[in-house]
Amino acid sequence: MDWWALNYGGNMSLLKDLFFYQGNKWWKIPETTELSENPKNEHPFGGFLEKAKNILLILSSGKGHAGPVYYWIIAAILGIITLIEVWWFTVPELRYMLAPAMLIFSIIKFALVVAFFMHLRFDHKMFSTIFITCMVVGILFFSVFLLLSAFHGLGT
């Protein structure tokens, strides 16, 4: 547990981190330029979500940088994955695995483009927050919807 305490400290509250803290971390709406102490307020949700926040922070933190060479490498990887996709499609023996494989490949490609080409990995974390929120709501939402369409009338 040392690395946990080392990286994320022990005395943060989720609310403070989400809304009051100045910095450039994940899941953060940026702060305005000048800060001053907030008056004492009641926070009925203060504190007890701390662990969840720490897990989120750990899952999502990361550093890195990119330049033209990186871009070419990423493009090469993208191209290779596309080739593998098409090859996989043409091999009849692999066809039973087609759907999951294609989904995984497209998610990898999706993530590569978003993270490196769209600079989400290096940019302000708020952009990630916005985009990932939309993706999560969308994916959850349409999964439920597809389930409902597929299992219409289940149980009657």
């Binding site: 009051f20 305005t32 008056p39 307020n41 949700f45 409902l148 369409s149 219409h152």
Partner: protein
Amino acid sequence: MSTISKPKQFQLPRIFPRPKSHKGLWYWLATVDHKKIGTMYGLVAFFWFLVGGIEALLIRLQLGQAESSILSPEVYNQMFTMHGTTMVFLVVMPLSAAFFNWIVPLQIGARDVAFPRLNALSLWVFIFGSILMNISWFVGGAPNGGWFGYPPNSSLGFNPGHGITYWVMGLNILGVASIAAGLNFIVTIINMRAPGMHMMRMPVFTWMTLITSVLIVLALPILAVAGIQLTADRIYGTNFFNSEAGGDPIFWQHIFWLFGHPEVYILILPAMGIVSEVLPTFSRKPLFGYTAIVFAGLVIGFLGWFVWSHHMFTVGLGPAANTAFTVTTMLIAIPTGVKIFNWISTLWGGSIKLNTSMLFSIGFIAMFTIGGLSGVTHAASPSDTQQQDTYYVVAHFHYVLFGGSIFAIFSGIYYWWPKFTGWLLDEKLGKISFILMFIGFNLQFGPMHWVGLNGMPRRIYTYAEDMGWEGSNLAATIGGFIIAVSVLVFLANVILSKRNKQNSGGDPWDARTLEWSISSPPPHYNFVEIPKVNNIDDWWYRKYPELLEGNNQNFKKQKIEVEDSSNVDESKIHLPDLSYYPLIIGIGLTIAGLGVMYTYALVAIGLIMVFWGSIGWSTEPVNEDSKEHH
């Protein structure tokens, strides 16, 4: 797009000169000032409120007695379709948008929204979209498929003619306006807050605007897709909802309510925001449980995405799906309850000033509670199969959307009117209009609970005498006319109060948030100096600094005057200049929409206008005189 001005910046040759004067029609057409745009939103939406109200009165007249024949069944179907569509898309949403426009930049201490021209675009697209939808009355019949437009009844095979096409086209265009406005307010609220205004120092109205905008931005595209699919079905003969080609009518219901349920929260969250501003101001104490109210709003905004099938308990999704949606629907009652209890606690122990605005807000809590409780009876899906599509549902959502949204909007009108105009509305007439509206509203929609449980289905243009529904319907009709009288009293109030202007000053209510720290009506640049925010209700604590030191006993109001804008060197404040390109794009979009129904020539003209507008927009400098800064 390229907006940074350079001396050799390419500019589209201008057909019209860029307006300069801050007066006259040309100014109103080209304005990018959020306050002017808010005013126009308000006026246009209020016009549609009157239109939708007249439609409602005609419906009530028809149903006032058994087997009446004031409206033909065809016209009746058009009436209730347009009443629903008008009230949702042309009244409550734009009236909320009017408040967003007027209030949000003032509350967060900004000079304008983040994208003033985009804001003007939203306004014009909304205005022309609403006109487009209502053109249908004059060209062969208004839409008649209900505001939910279920196919196959709304598909070409069962509903020939242009009515439904106008409806979907109008919704698509209005969707563009809403999404543009939603994007604008998200960016504005995140990015334009005054220094020191943390997210958790924002006024609740601004918070609810943010949540509403997020819902708009995520939900309206779904409606756009449904609209595109239905348009394609009707015009190009595709098969999305064509049951003969294997298309699934249930599918439309899913997409529509995928959009439709977040839409319900789009309609009610701004109202909750307004009430959360009015209650603490007139109770003269802080909002009870600010954080809880904000979080309850967030939770409602999120849960609202996963309850849509409670509109579909009777389509046969099966007990598994019904159980899941019953549970998620009931969960929504919890954050809603938290809000109601917090509002009551805000009243509790306060020093309540019962003026018109406050009465409407208290009326909101009282009526919204009834709507919420009847909502729980709907969530119980076995008994909902008895209530679905009866007047019980009509009663329920009018208690939420009229007793909720409209009451709160009137509360907001009376509350912010002095900020809009600089003069006060008459309290006596205001209270009369409240009492009339309260009685009329309950008289109209209260008996609908009973008549619905007594088996009266929705959307019927007539009913037989032996059904036992006449008494309740007559009461409802009388109630409807009482509401109409109260709206007339409100209009009279506006006219009479304007005649003997009672100057309000900048801060007539001894209010709490930043918009009251400047003069009324605010100058076009809003704040002489961008304020520095130290507290939640910053303006309040500037007036009562002792409160911050924990002094709860002997309060003294510090003498702080609202900002004086008479001696301001305006040359130092740079605001975007007027632009008529948003108007051109708005007109172009509407023409293109009309063309989709009639001829491609119009589509081409519309698209050329849109293209011209966008190029002009992106090449014109934001302000003409800002060139030397770059």
